[in-house]
């Protein structure tokens, strides 16, 4: 039987098939770049078609920030007008935008606009508010909404068609925000209660104005319930994201009640309230737990000025001191030093040019009902500079009030690893400042 070698023929067949031209089975009508350009043009037309523009509330980072609202109007020549509640007394800014084909269709704000303020860094916040200047258009929903995501961290928001009134309402957000922040004269003791007719939980609330976030700490067991409650404002309410839950019921919006000066929200029989109190809910026992002897508690303006525990009332007093200081003197540090078991000193450190000075006087101290009361010993000031003494007098009155301070230990750290304690004046509960605790040898 004759044997034939069919392998070369098989090879030929394979070669023939490999280069077959499947042009007729192309999936898309147009090349990718042309399809992207068409899509971008369609999005430009969609954006420009909304007569009163678009509105959104954008949470740049759902872990670290609350939300800011914007209304924007695009034209076909890549011009955009925008207003946002990211600044007080907002005004309409004009700028430019582009639609780019990168990571999908991208809306890029090319010039400074209110939304780009969220990327504007400062010395204390080099990461700004985690904003972005570019946003991927994820999808256009059937109802015309556009789903967007930040190119920086994938945070999503929805652009909805705006009405004429939305442009006016943005300006009213400031009033709600001001009510929420409160006056510098308000007590720092602010509570959030949520519950029904039979039971409720009380949280102590601290608000971070820069990031629009509130921290809720259970007032009974001092356990931090949540540090990531972002807030956003409307003309008459504050939105909490994620919503606050009680017994499976969510409360996301609280409305301002002018008559009672408090925020209130309801869902079924669950009610939430945000209100001020002149005294702490739970006096706690932080003073008893502190080893006071040789412990120095220092407020440093360079690292503690911006914490959410540094109250506007304290900042006001502190600024007042510096306004009253003569000859360019600047107060930069305050130390409350418990030098022995019964005595200590308050030391104010200030600079003039490159030289540092200090002024201090001594006190006796004792705990009274969970307040720490400092009483001047009558030895007088370490300085005879009457200008400095006068400038410090209002702050000094707080330190040596007969009502004393509430002292509380924080779980947070700021810049350094030192444990931080807050001092809150019982005389004027709008005055609270954080301090670093450090044991000294003297």
């Amino acid at each position: 039987m004759k044997k034939y070698n069919f392998y070369p023929l098989l090879f030929l067949l394979l070669i023939l098939c490999s280069c077959s031209n499947d042009d007729d089975t192309e999936i898309f009508d147009l090349p990718a770049d042309e399809r992207m350009n068409t899509l971008l043009l369609e999005y430009r037309n969609t954006l420009a078609a909304s007569q009163d523009g678009w509105k959104t509330t954008f949470y740049p980072d759902t872990t670290y920030t609350g939300g800011w609202s914007f209304v924007m109007k695009f034209d076909e020549h890549y011009g955009v007008e925008m207003i946002g509640d990211v600044v007080k007394n907002p005004e309409v800014e004009e700028g430019t935008y582009a639609l780019l084909g990168s990571q999908g269709p991208v809306l890029s704000f090319k010039s400074y606009l209110p939304i780009t303020e969220l990327s504007n860094p400062s010395a204390s916040h080099p990461q700004a508010r985690y904003g972005s200047n570019e946003f991927v258009i994820v999808e256009e929903r059937d109802n015309g909404d556009l789903v967007m995501k930040s190119k920086r961290n994938d945070s999503r928001f929805v652009l909805k068609k705006a009405g004429e009134e939305d442009w006016k309402n943005i300006g009213l957000h400031s009033e709600t925000e001001n009510n929420f922040i409160g006056s510098p004269l308000n007590s720092v003791y602010r509570f959030f209660t949520i519950g029904n007719q039979t039971d409720s939980i009380v949280y102590e609330m601290v608000y971070d104005e820069y990031f629009r976030q509130m921290t809720l700490t259970n007032a009974d067991d001092a356990v931090v319930q949540s540090k990531d409650k972002g807030v956003a404002f409307t003309k008459d309410s504050v939105y909490v994201e994620p919503p606050i839950m009680y017994d499976g019921v969510a409360i996301a919006a609280l409305f301002y009640d002018k008559d009672q000066s408090l925020f209130i929200g309801r869902n079924g029989d669950v009610t939430a309230k945000l209100y001020y109190s002149p005294v702490p809910y739970n006096l706690g026992n932080d003073i008893a737990d502190i080893n006071l002897t040789k412990n120095m508690f220092s407020y440093r303006d360079d690292t503690l000025e911006d914490t959410p525990y540094t109250s506007p009332g304290f900042v006001h007093l502190y600024d007042e001191v510096n306004d009253l200081m003569l000859g360019g003197r600047i107060l930069w540090r305050i130390e409350v030093h418990f030098m022995t078991e019964t005595e200590g000193r308050v030391r104010y450190r200030y600079s003039s040019g490159d030289t540092n000075y200090s002024a201090y006087h001594y006190f006796r101290y004792q705990a009274e009902d969970n307040r720490m009361v400092l009483t001047e010993t009558g030895d007088g000031w370490s300085t005879t500079n009457q200008g400095v003494i006068n400038a410090l007098s209002n702050l000094d009155d707080i330190f040596f009030s007969s009502k004393g301070f509430y002292i509380k230990k924080l779980s947070e750290r700021y810049t350094y690893t030192n444990v931080v304690y807050t001092f809150t004046s019982a005389e004027d509960p709008s005055v609270r400042f954080p301090t670093y605790s450090a044991l000294t040898t003297f």
Binding site: P8, I15, E94, S111, Y112, T116, S119, P121, A123
Partner: protein, 295 residues
Amino acid sequence: MKNKTAIYKITLIMLSLFLWSACGNDDEIKESRIDTSTPELTAMDVWIRENLTTPYNISINYTFDDNELDNSRYLTPPKLREVEPFLDAFLEVMIRPFEEEVGTDFVKEYFPKLFVLVGSYNYNSDGSRRLGVAEGGKKVVLYELNYFTERTSEASTSELARERFARYFHTIEHEFGHILQQTKAYDAEKFGSITPQYRSTWNNLDEQEALNLGYITPYSAKNMDEDFVEILAMMLTNTAEDFEAILNLPENDEAREALRAKLEIIVDYYRESWNIDLYELQEIIAKKRQAYFEK
């Protein structure tokens, strides 16, 4: 055996023919898909084209461009209303003096080709601010544009406003100094031997400490190239009188003499390598700056 050979021969011929023809692509060469059409130009674009790009070969990127910036930083685009005042000053106080001193061709050839403007501050991790960055002698990124008018316009008579104004141009003079320095070498050995204690920890020095060591700014103490351009930038952003006062700020003779010795090398280098009289250029810039403030 013969049959086998014949089959292989035929196969090879066929294979050659098929390979030659199988992948033939008869598609016609089509038009490029790259979009080369002129984009819509704004009034600002036209101003830049007429005043900077066409006459001086300089392009300005004043809109946010992810590709030109460090993506790890949080930065904002410039406010449109800040761009023209800044570029107007840039033209008057930076470009025209060089043009007057050494000619248009010099500006065209050696000035950075691309300036990227950024609105916000740019913070380093140590809290210091980056005012500008030069890349490869072709591109300069300038920060803090959104504060230009606020800092400089209101107080045309204020010393502070003039100082702040000078800071913007200090950055540009500094970066442009690097380009020239890298194009034609200066006597680095001689220059570096005058104050050789350069250090990476320059940011620990305050201004007076740096001056007392013979460095005109703390950043000068980083290395001799930076020292060279810092002295140059300080000279060109101050009047002769103010610069003279700065040279006398060190609190010891040794440092004062060191500053003057380094300045002499810089002045000689500019005269010999670039035919630029720095004292004359300093005077022209000072006059243009004064005229700008009086506008």
